[in-house]
């Protein structure tokens, strides 16, 4: 094709694409709900959305990550209908409405081969602040502890700092990963690692540690004995519109809560 043809064709193609794009923006009677925010909440919302869309064929639920703060910002700017947050709102965000969809435990996890199965909060705090740096001090082999934390700004890290660190700083030598999944992957591959992740993600690849003899489970959270718990929130700007309400209602329904429960989260019907 000659150069001239290209020059003529390109704008045409671009125009065509944008036309089809424009027409796709109002697809028949389909309703699009856009949700963005915490990567901790995202996988569960995606799961919920998948199920929701099976029963509600005329709905499209678009789930994005981005982090709690970005989600809240997006709600304030009205670019999304729902924000997801794994941390409580800050003061300047308080004018937004929140809906607690469930509670999530934070599990401290180690490699399945690690014999250490029980730590108290103080020990965990000392590990992450660098004051305990060898497994020998915890009654295992003489090997450095590979602590894994989340990155600055993450909701999970925020909750962990509030609930565990209590004003102590996480040591600079601690490894940092940017999602629950990647923390889990590191702990699952490194026998000497310790990290904290959303309880819903715990599976056979990692071993949750009991905290002061209390293992993390839905039961112990419900009974209030397991203390590392945070709410998962949906955030809206003002009242919900009807289409989003349909989705939120589904999430809060028995069916939706059962899905969350299957994922290891603590809902309202347990």
């Amino acid at each position: 094709m000659s150069f001239r043809h290209w020059v003529i064709l390109l704008p045409l193609i671009a125009a065509l694409i944008s036309c089809s794009a424009a027409s796709n923006d109002k697809p028949g009677k389909k309703h699009t709900i856009t949700i963005a925010g915490s990567t901790s909440v995202m996988p569960f919302t995606e799961k919920l959305a998948e199920h929701f869309m099976v029963d509600h064929k005329n709905f499209i639920v678009d789930v994005q990550g981005g982090g709690s703060t970005a989600g809240i910002q997006a709600v304030i700017n009205n670019t999304v209908e729902l924000g997801m947050s794994s941390r409580p709102l800050k003061n300047e965000e308080k004018r937004l409405n929140t809906i607690t969809i469930c509670y999530d435990g934070i599990a401290v996890v180690v490699h399945p081969d690690n014999p250490v199965g029980d730590l108290d909060l103080d020990r965990i705090r000392q590990i992450f602040s660098g004051r305990i740096s060898n497994w020998r001090e915890l009654g295992w082999v003489d090997r450095r502890i590979d602590a894994v934390s989340r990155e600055e700004g993450s909701g999970t890290r925020g909750a962990f700092e509030d609930l565990v660190m209590k004003g102590n700083e996480i040591d600079d030598g601690t490894m940092v990963q940017d999602s629950n999944g990647s923390v889990k992957e590191v702990v699952a591959t490194d026998p000497y690692a310790i990290g904290y992740i959303s309880m819903g993600l715990v599976d056979k690849k990692v071993k949750p540690v009991a905290i002061a003899h209390v293992s993390p489970s839905i039961k112990t959270i419900k009974s209030g004995r397991y203390k590392l718990v945070r709410p998962f929130l949906y955030v809206t700007n003002g009242e919900l519109d009807t289409k989003s309400r349909r989705f939120v209602d589904y999430v809060l329904s028995k069916e939706g809560q059962q899905i969350l429960r299957n994922e290891g989260l603590v809902g309202f019907y347990d």
Binding site: Q73, G153, G155, M175, E185, T189, A193
Partner: protein, 287 residues
């Protein structure tokens, strides 16, 4: 008739000028927007406290990225130590020793290495290199040495192809002249060809450094991303790029500005490297 041709020629020329200017415009936009986001924090916190600050806790008002600057340079130099000799040897082999057929096979194979996405390198690094380091050298495996190994391989294609170009562009007459005086092949390479291609080879090293310092995804998968300056090759570390990629998603307010400040520092480093590679060294070749 003639006027129309002349007019058309002018029109074409100005359209092309506009196209050519677009690159400058894009560069300008990138500069402006990264600077606009990154500079305010420098003014607010102070250049020293950012560049030489040891503590990075942006939600608590600490924006020091000195450990990351050091870490970025460490991985880059490490990658160069691994990639440069290997890459240069390959380039010499390809340009001087390999037969036509071998070259036809090896050259594209090496260029394919450049095409493999960096996430694939990162992934394979996590699956194979990290456990290897953990089991045989110690530490968590997420470390300076693992990162350097993976980056060293990743910069190979850059080093090989640019050095190769520099080597083959040494005029044939030099080779003939040297051979005609009874020099062996290696003497010719060592005494004539490499000195003649010196600046191109250096440029390849510097561009390889640029690639290593700019690599992101593979690095955050392997480096461990700890905030301290590593004290040994087995310690985890966080690079400038890693800092941005790890935290951008969650950052707001000053935290986000802090990441853009990291971007500004990275951009300045890259610009200096590029400047050396393109304008300091290539000009010498032209001479």
């Amino acid at each position: 008739m003639i006027d129309r041709t002349v007019l058309k020629e002018h029109l074409v020329k100005w359209v092309l000028v506009a196209f050519a200017l677009s690159s400058l415009l894009f560069l300008f936009l990138i500069f402006i927007f990264i600077l606009a986001e990154g500079l305010p924090l420098f003014l607010k916190v102070g250049l020293n406290k950012i560049i030489f600050g040891m503590k990075w806790a942006p939600t608590k008002g600490h924006f020091g990225i000195f450990p990351m600057i050091i870490s970025s340079f460490l991985v880059t130099i490490g990658a160069l130590i691994i990639g440069a000799p290997l890459g240069l040897s390959c380039a010499i082999y390809l340009s001087e020793y390999a037969g036509k057929r071998t070259r036809m096979l090896l050259k594209p194979a090496i260029e394919l290495l450049a095409g493999i996405p960096s996430v694939v390198f990162g992934f394979l690094g996590v699956i194979y290199i990290v456990p290897l380091v953990r089991n045989y050298l110690g530490g968590s495996g997420f470390s300076l040495i693992s990162t350097c190994l993976v980056l060293g391989v990743m910069i190979l294609p850059t080093i090989i192809s640019i050095s190769f170009d520099a080597l083959v562009s040494v005029p044939r007459t030099y080779r003939e002249g040297s051979a005609a005086m009874g020099a062996t092949k290696w003497q010719t390479i060592y005494k004539v060809i490499i000195p003649s291609a010196k600046s191109g080879i250096l440029a390849s090293f510097i561009l390889g450094m640029g690639r290593a310092i700019g690599e992101t995804m593979a690095v955050i998968m392997i480096a461990g991303n700890a905030l301290k300056i590593p004290t040994g090759i087995l310690d985890p570390l966080r690079t400038l790029t890693g800092n941005i990629a790890l935290e951008l998603a969650y950052a707001t307010g000053d935290h986000r500005l802090g990441l853009f400040s990291t971007g500004v520092v990275l951009m300045v480093i890259i610009m200096i490297l590029n400047y050396i590679a393109n304008f300091g060294i290539k000009r010498k070749i032209a001479k």
